[in-house]
């Protein structure tokens, strides 16, 4: 056993001793945070022990074996997956205090990045943050914000200087979603529901203390966030995990769906998902062994394509049943699930898999440039002041 493992074991023992049956969830999670077991690879004092990232799984096992409850990531996806890693990297001591509230679920985060005119091209954000005394006044429109209706805080990218080229005039902020001037509206999707929101910001006051990273460094900070978003759909997925399990299960359970003409396509997709799983498994083993590979970028591509094809096939194989829908009512779920709905919903929702979190076109650019070393696209917007670009 390594020294680092020993430190984890000690922390787990101490946390277990400090936890009492009378504690509520927030208090329990707080104990874990205070003992450095929230994110063990984070520095001490930030919910971590400063140990190697590869020990995260080990720590999770020990915590679980000690019977200590951990917060469900899904309740604060943006907080855990994007805000926390960015704050720990760029935050001031004061800003880092919020890490505890993220972990205890007392502060739920959402993300204010994309705009109607800045989708794949995030650096084109037009939302303005104008100096206003000690702070900034923010005005603009954001879109594709999931969970905004339930969020306490947001990570925000806004333009602080339109007179310089677009990547240089951005800054990164923490924004109070309860502040005056923040308006959240559900954005209805093709499935009928509004999983995402539009967020309108009108003269929202943001104090200087909420600037994360330096003024004008927003692009660099945002990329830390995005790299954390696009982490590999890693190993550990069981065979037939995900959509293939749903479709193969329907085939098995319903002899009337077994159209022999669709059989080869179903098996082919089963193989596609399985080889993607095998690649994910190899990647995760390499990562665990400290040998990161380039495979991660590919996982999102095959995930999206396989989901497109599987849901299309499912709709086809279920015949008239596939043409029934459950509800197009505009609901506002805090997250989506492909399970428990009908094939038509899955078909429509899966279309978003190749768009959200980086379109498949952007992912292909990334693979070809960062993994394969091919030249970048011709850019006409790199050296021109943002205000002078055609919109």
């Amino acid at each position: 056993m390594s020294t680092e493992q020993q430190r984890i074991d000690d922390a787990v023992a101490a946390a277990a001793a400090a936890t009492t049956d009378a504690m509520n969830d927030s208090e329990r999670y707080g104990v874990l945070y205070d003992h450095g077991l929230a994110w063990v690879n984070f520095p001490e004092g930030c919910g971590g022990l400063g140990v190697s990232t590869s020990l995260r799984e080990y720590a999770a096992q020990q915590v679980a074996e000690a019977g200590l409850r951990t917060p469900p990531r899904g309740s604060n996806t943006i907080g855990f997956g994007m805000a926390a890693p960015t704050i720990v990297t760029y935050g001031t001591a004061e800003q880092k205090l919020i890490l505890r509230d993220i972990y205890t679920l007392d502060t739920i985060f959402c993300q204010l990045f994309s705009e109607p005119g800045a989708g794949s091209d995030l650096a084109a954000v037009a939302t303005r943050a104008v100096r206003n005394g000690d702070g900034f006044r923010v005005t603009g429109q954001k879109v594709w914000t999931s969970g905004a209706q339930n969020a306490d805080m947001a990570i925000l990218v806004a333009r602080t200087d339109p007179s310089v080229p677009k990547h240089q005039g951005l800054s990164y902020f923490l924004l109070d979603m309860h502040a005056p001037g923040v308006e959240v509206r559900g954005l209805r999707q093709i499935t009928g529901e509004a999983e995402f929101n539009e967020v309108f910001l009108t003269d929202v006051e943001v104090p200087e203390a909420n600037l994360l990273g330096e003024l004008g460094q927003g692009w660099k900070v945002a990329n830390t966030t995005l790299n954390n978003e696009r982490v590999a759909i890693g190993g550990g997925t069981p065979r037939e995990g995900g959509m293939i399990g749903v479709v193969a299960g329907a085939w098995r359970a319903n002899p009337e769906y077994r159209d022999p003409l669709l059989h080869d396509e179903l098996v082919r997709l089963w193989v596609e998902v399985e080889v993607a799983r095998m690649m994910g498994e190899r990647l995760s083993q390499k990562l665990a062994a400290g040998q990161p590979g380039p495979e991660g970028s590919g996982a999102k591509l095959s995930f999206a394509r396989n989901n497109h094809e599987l849901t299309g096939l499912e709709l086809q194989m279920t015949g008239v049943d596939g043409l029934r829908y459950d509800t197009y009512a505009m609901r506002r779920p805090s997250e989506y699930s492909m399970i428990g709905r009908i094939p038509g919903y899955r078909y429509l929702r899966a279309k978003g898999n190749s768009i959200e979190g980086g379109t498949s076109e952007i992912i292909r650019n990334i693979i070809s440039e960062r993994v394969l070393g091919l030249p970048g696209e011709h850019r006409v917007d790199k050296d021109v002041a943002f205000k002078d670009l055609p919109k």
Binding site: S114, G117, A118, G119, S120, D121, A124, V143, W144, L187, R188, Q189, I190, G192, D259, L261, L262, H308, G312, L315, Q316, G319, V320, G322, L323, R324, Y325, D326, T327, Y328, G344, Y347, L348, K351, G352, S354, I355, E356, T359, S360, E361, R364, E377, H378, R379, V380, D381, V384, L389, P390, K391
Partner: protein
Amino acid sequence: MTDIDLLPREHEEDLRASVRRLFEAESSAEFVAGLYDDPTADTSKLDRAWAQELGLAALLVPEELGGAGASASEAAVVSEEIGRAVAPVRFLSSAVLATTLAVHLKAQSLLAGLTAGERFAAIAFPATAARIDSGIEIAVEGGSATVSGTVPGVIDGVGADDYLVVAGEGVDTVVVRVSAEHVQAEPFLGFDQSRQLADLSFTHAPAEVLGHGLDAAAAVRAAEILGRTVLAAEQAGLAQRAFDLTLEYVKGRRQFGRTIGSFQAVKHRLADLWLEVSQAGAAAIFAARTAAASEAGEELPDEAELCSLVAGSYASTAAVHAAEEAVQLHGGNGMTWEYPLHLYLKRAKADEQILGHSRRQRQQLAPLIDLPTA
């Protein structure tokens, strides 16, 4: 195979223009999207407009029976426009499928109402079946019959005035008519709400026998050929419109300081898609003109059937592909309710299943082109 004239015809382009005007006025994207929120919304005004005012209900009825005496070629033009507007109309079910059956069976009393556009009919078969066959039993006794059983997912199955039920095949084929009051129709919320489906139940429903035996089988076959042909035209029209919307969008939408249509990967995908959509259009018109020639006795029904299966199997996947690419190339906007792309996606994917998916249609095609499975 005779030579098939594929050039545009002036009277058809006039027809196209008037249908397009109607849909622009009465079947906007907002109107169609509204049907998803209120499935019971009344579309009868729209149906009256095309059926009576434009007289399209009479399109495929011969002049000697009081109709317009037009052909599959004109019907395809109308259907292309329907696809272009994803219009929620009873054209395919009533004016094409049921009317063709009625014309071939010389069911004059039924036809009178259909031709006038005052009554609408639906054929009771599951929308995804490759053959027009109710799958239920009809007990015949002389000129009348009774019908019992359920048929799921019938196209425009609610709100019709007359229901045609087909059972059996070959010499055992029977076609009967049941009037609406004897049919229990349960409409359901559809994946594609621009074409309403319903589950039908018949409980000892009294029926009038319209035809039986080989004549009836021939009539059913004619309806299948025309149905597939007209549906292929709808799919081609839908595909073309989804493509056009996308081409327009990529020319205007800027990212990274350039229009996204200037990115070569987008250009090449649109080039391939243009080819596919154009081929779907050519196949649809080829099938329509061939069906017209066949109905006029200038071409064999086998050739019309072949062309309907070529166009049907090709256009159905082309329409889905065009709609899927449209959503993807519109990025996040393509995923919104606000943009009309979702209407195209839903209609295209549902249409793909109707009258048999493309693999099934290719199985029907194989014997006609002498390519046995084994």
